[in-house]
């Protein structure tokens, strides 16, 4: 059997980074015999972990310049993607860095747009993320600060002392992801009932849902439906 009639493999630059871990093979959960789905050889890898190098472009370099003398050791990596900058900060230094971002005249991020959580079960050691969107009205700039914590030790220091608006936002993130914000004045659930078990926005928390029946045909619940990812 020759390989003449097989589709060509694109030539050119070889991928120089180590391939990311495989998240899934195949499709539709089929994995026994035969390749009837046509997707049997599909390999889905985790998206590459980005890290940008200088120069970042736009005003991002100015922000980094002002931040580095104070918090250089706290910055784990910087990602510039789609005209937005993300500073990944070590959680131990978060409060310092946030205070500096707010108070330094060259930075002056006086408005915080709150906290958002994301759960990446595959990112071992940094499964849970708290993401802060900051806005500087003085300079008309936006940045994002991202802090990771492992699922086994879900603690991130609270930033309510720097941005009082984080009060409810941190409660929401705790409610949905189970991240404990140490030092929060009253970290209780905010959206879910007080006696709720589990943290619903985590990826290991099921959606629930029931199948829908219509004229004898049954449509499975949304989380049971076929997924094409």
């Amino acid at each position: 059997m020759s390989s003449e009639n097989l589709p060509g493999v694109p030539q050119g630059e070889a991928p120089d980074q180590t391939p990311e871990p495989v998240v899934r093979r195949g499709m539709f959960g089929a994995g026994d015999t035969g390749d009837t789905s046509g997707y049997g050889r599909l390999v889905v890898r985790r998206p590459a972990r980005l890290a940008s190098a200088r120069p970042y472009g736009s005003y991002f370099d100015d922000v980094a310049d002002a931040l580095e003398p104070v918090a250089g050791d706290a910055i784990e990596r910087v990602v510039v993607d789609r005209d937005e900058v993300t500073f990944h900060i070590a959680r131990e230094r978060l409060v310092d860095v946030m205070r500096h971002l707010r108070d330094d005249p060259a930075l002056r991020f006086e408005l915080s747009l709150g906290v958002s959580g994301v759960h990446y079960p595959d990112e071992t050691g940094g499964e849970l993320r708290a993401i802060y969107h900051l806005c500087s009205i003085t300079h008309n700039r936006r940045i994002r600060v991202e802090v990771a914590c492992p699922d086994s030790d879900r603690h991130i220091p609270s930033t309510v002392s720097v941005y009082p608006t984080h009060d409810w936002h941190e409660r929401e993130t705790y409610d949905f992801f189970g991240i404990v914000f140490d030092g929060h004045p009253a970290l209780t659930r905010i959206e879910m009932p007080d006696d709720w078990e589990g943290h619903p926005q985590r990826k290991d928390y099921p959606l629930g849902g029931i199948p829908v029946e219509y004229r004898g045909a049954e449509t499975p619940a949304p989380d049971q439906r076929r997924s094409y990812a």
Partner: protein
Amino acid sequence: MSTTTTEGKVYDVAGQDWDELVETVTESAEERLVINMGPQHPSTHGVLRLVLTLDGETVTEARTVIGYLHTGIEKNMEFRTWTQGVTFVTRMDYLAPIFNETAYCLGVEKLLGIADRVPERAQAIRVMMMELNRISSHLVALATFGMELGATTPMIYGFREREMVLDIFEYVTGLRMNMAYVRPGGVSVDLPAGAVDKIGEFLKVMPERIKDIRKLLDENPVYTRRTKDVAYLDLTGCMALGITGPMLRAAGLPWDLRKSQPYCGYETYEFDVPTEKTCDVYGRYLVRMAEMEESLKIVEQALDRLTGPLKGGPVMIDDKKIGWPSQLALGPDGLGNSPDHIAHIMGSSMEALIHHFKLVTEGFRVPAGQVYSAVESPRGELGAHVVSDGGTRPYRVHFRDPSFTNLQAVPATCEGGMIADVISAVASIDPVMGGVDR
């Protein structure tokens, strides 16, 4: 009814036993009264619960309890395609559906890298619909506010005028609320014939109607006494609490994302950002009124463009891998499937059928990454934090809803004031619980 607890004596009121209650309370020497207001209360704009500690008529402590309208929209979206997400986000802040949709779609477009390729006509329609929506939302804020202070005329006026906007929405999108009109890549359907006339008529009538409401309220002594110097929150307080929107502009800062960080081509429209320096409820009212007048200006400019240079242009991105395969068509029973498109995929082109099927059931893939897109909603900065893992479904969508953040100002604006002013204070925040709880 009264029971003794470790906290002291607790009186439960069911509404029928006032005599008994008055008797037992007069016996007690304690002045402190904890009142539970809501979650079912006409003056709380939906299912908001306030726990007020009173000393006489003065509020000494105000605690806000939310979560009664949590519907898990953000979780649900993770199990639907990117396009279906629009149908979910539109239900968050149900008085400003177009803003939710636009914030979300701008985020998805940024992730896809197609922000520059969205047709200009679609952007102009988005702007026009958003400004109409801003008017309708402010009208509800005004109407409910009047009602809560005991003035029923502004309520009737506000809802009557809002009806005109909802009629336009129905005419254009087929639905009065929750339209899922703005889609990634453009809008779901072009303006139908006659929409321009309808909106033109609205533009003619509305300035007079706004004047009527102003005549009723601007100098009304009853109204001004209930609103002036009430619920004071200055710029420092706004910044610390993350307050945006009319509350912030009533504290004197002309911060409006349409001006400072324009999107959808707002930089090409002429309008002013109204501000007040009073930091009180009355100032917020004036800002909202002035914003409606400015919105009318923007709608007029957008309409001029839609009938002039942008006439007949596309309203959906020219990318067959993203743009919905067909537009809706107006049938005798309202907006529905386009018969031409169905004839095309069922009768003449197998490839078109496959394409339609793939895009509608599977959806498009969005490259991995995260973005934050923000729009100036009637209540302040509405931000969408959209995360993709490269699949056909959102990995995580978080909405930074302005109502949620602004509601944190309740203790700061109410404590130390009279209990009657709590109503004014909450109404001036204009929270929409659908957006707060999501």
